[in-house]
Symmetry: C2
Subunit: 316 residues, 2 copies
Amino acid sequence: MNPILPVIAVHGGAGTITRAALNAEQEARYHEALDYVLKGGQAILEKGGSALDAVTEAVFRLEECPLFNAGKGAVFTHAGTHELDASIMDGRSLAAGAVACVKSLRNPILAARRVMEDGRHVLLVGEGAEAFARNAGLKTVPPDYYFTEARHAQWQRALSEGRFGMLEGLAAEPIDADTKMGTVGAVALDADGNLAAATSTGGVTDKRVGRVGDSPLIGAGCYANNRTVAVSCTGSGEMFIRMLAAYDVSALMEYRGLTLAEACEEVVMHKLPSIDGRGGLIAVDAQGNVCLPFNTEGMYRGHAQAGGPRQTAIYR
Amino acid sequence: MNPILPVIAVHGGAGTITRAALNAEQEARYHEALDYVLKGGQAILEKGGSALDAVTEAVFRLEECPLFNAGKGAVFTHAGTHELDASIMDGRSLAAGAVACVKSLRNPILAARRVMEDGRHVLLVGEGAEAFARNAGLKTVPPDYYFTEARHAQWQRALSEGRFGMLEGLAAEPIDADTKMGTVGAVALDADGNLAAATSTGGVTDKRVGRVGDSPLIGAGCYANNRTVAVSCTGSGEMFIRMLAAYDVSALMEYRGLTLAEACEEVVMHKLPSIDGRGGLIAVDAQGNVCLPFNTEGMYRGHAQAGGPRQTAIYR
């Protein structure tokens, strides 16, 4: 048997990202950021660290980066506030943790991990989640921490268009940072053969207060199972919830015997589009195969094996 | 082709319900309540109404009944408050709606249905969900509306035992209303061949503030798909989340070709117990077959075809 070659993949959101929407300098910034994120996870895997630690570190870095819609750089709700969601799952035990609708945590992914480690519950929301995270010693931030000029302008445009969290009909627009469905995530396989997945988001611009998308929901936006696959999703969250997109990749592999690539194709190119679900996902299976499919014009993404080159991409 | 015979099934929670725990009078009250709940859904189906309307009415009646842990009669959180969750799914379109962690809505299931009908989002939590429901004209109630002596005593016992929302280790206790995992739900097939599922709960006694279980999570505690099955779950919610219990029944039928009974057996008797998941579910498939499996000592349940007798049960 060949030794397992650890691997990590990350994403920073999918959407209508055309070449016209980003200039060369902006493109370079995204590639640089994705490389830095991958590097953090890769370093952990190269030292024999766990998939769980690798995805935590990668998503932590994505949350810290204002370019991506998670943590710093999160989008605005209809009320002009920020509400963040995150989840993590351990493919070894199927243990999982998640937080949703938190407004004061610097790194929702660390709160999700604490929820998982605590083990009593899987999902905590709102003030209860924040109180739990504070008691666990996690960093809190004032509301204006999340503010970025770019997201504020995006919200103002959404407000003026009466979008109210709707994404429908936007696919036809020529460009658009505004229709990038911002979620970040990471999946990894470690040297022990363990899979893990993590997802974090600020949600969708101009969403209703209290809206929770697929990102913190196990099986929808995040899933990991050593028997099959680790998956993190990004896209029109409501459709990913209704399709159980992340778990569906696993179920198609386990129950129908599809390969990773076939299962991803079925979910992203057939099942999600059947209900107008747009976006993508990143997946790594128990053999270390990686698949990064999306049905939008672009998805910020990257992957790297332990000791291998880091590859990042934006467009098709 | 035979005409479709509409059918409804309901549950009022599963757990360590032994004959010793209920006297004859209490038993009779549960049977009577379940019969009344079934009757409401059955009447809608008999008039040619939709599965969606039937499950909404049945869960509404379960929420109104103080015997069950949903709406009036909801359990207490660790803080002595009440936080309610509910979800609904339409098997025809895979449309879904849910609310979680709401504290002032008389009928969370009606709010879930409004979220689905609104169509913008699938899941709203906390104050955002409450504001949405108020704007939709739904009834609000003061916190003491949910109070029942029985649930208060249950919470006091949990506090004194330092249980804190944990269910582990309680299966061995001889009796126990306290370990009944209270969730309510309904599934139905209507004359047009449409399936629907609805689930509502007060959660688990002494849960952390902000804890959300499987009940409002599509694919975990509630799922409906005309191609396969409608499912509503009750039990140790965290395990049902990790197993995607409701959707898994559907996936096993669709991808592995199992019958309804085989899929239910696999999920309730094998997959859930593999992670110490305890509870049960109710399911009706597209042909009108009904399955009401549970791996606990009892589950409040019932089912009825249009024009047929109403059957209710508590123990194995």
